[in-house]
Symmetry: C2
Subunit: 150 residues, 2 copies
DNA sequence: CTCATTAGTCAGTTAATCTGTCTTTCTGGT
DNA sequence: ACCAGAAAGACAGATTAACTGACTAATGAG
């Protein structure tokens, strides 16, 4: 351990940021090469939280921890790009349902595959056991952070 | 492991994102409460890479992986907030040196401390050994991602 | 049946990036 | 010593992804 810059050391936060940035870049670049050129990282705030039967904007906003205005902006963009369809919720006249189009299903499948492939590449260098241990540790950390007061 | 949403699973990338977001939020909120209300996460793109003798904008830009225009925007903002001083580089008439002010030193020290405190809180729940193992694993992953072709 | 709550929209703002173009300064090769 | 090209930064403008505040329309509980 050479003496490092105060904020640049081996902090969990910095490591997570570097890894996340790298993987996100990798995955969206690969997705672009597979035809999803107009797919942006911010879109995964929608795709990640969409449930199969469709979701309301307000629910997506809560899950993604953003305002409904911001979520509406994202779903609207995805609708224009033919990744989702936005239709009235038959059970509530105020609400809309955001549902994946076939292209949207493709995109989700592709992102999922690319994400798994990226991990597999890491596993070939680290070993599956170690990678699994890191993943478990991260999941535990996330759990701790989500309910801080014990 | 319940069957999860395709993109919402226990992927390393997602875990890193969640953890990084949470820690960043925590740390900058705490910094604000300690008087650094005008300090923003984007500013750490500067602070993290500043070396003690001062750095050139172009070097900071390279280190932070952004354009020099963007870096100039950030350093300018930090200068207006009295975290850094920007002065001519005596060794090169084209260049400027960005150096920390006393307040900037304070900010770096505070962010570093808050960051370490956040990790310490995690350690009390996970155990130091496990946390260290995760950190080592993450560092290894980052290493792999930085030089992908072996 | 009314009124508070909820879902979403509209308008405007801000933060943090980007690209392209320009000026100034430096430097290496002849 | 000169000049051509590289490098450092500035200026102008665009874009993306968020935000807040104020609004409309539909729901549902008492």
């Amino acid at each position: 351990m050479t003496d490092m810059h105060p904020l640049d050391g081996e902090r969990i936060a910095q490591l997570c940021r570097a890894i996340y940035d790298n993987l996100r870049e990798q995955i969206y670049a690969a997705a672009a090469q597979e035809g999803f050129v107009d797919l942006r990282p911010s879109h995964s705030n929608v795709l990640r939280h969409l449930d199969p039967a469709g979701s309301r904007i307000v629910d997506l906003a809560v899950r993604a921890d953003m305002t409904k205005q911001s979520m509406a902006y994202l779903t609207d963009a995805l609708a224009k790009l033919d990744y989702v369809e936005i239709r009235p919720d038959p059970t509530d006249g105020r609400a809309k349902l955001v549902v994946l189009t076939p292209r949207g299903h493709d995109a989700v499948a592709t992102l999922t595959r690319l994400s798994l492939e990226a991990e597999a590449r890491i596993a070939t260098r680290l070993g599956k056991a170690k990678l699994d241990a890191v993943r478990d540790g991260l999941a535990e950390i996330r759990g701790v952070l989500e309910k801080p007061g014990q």
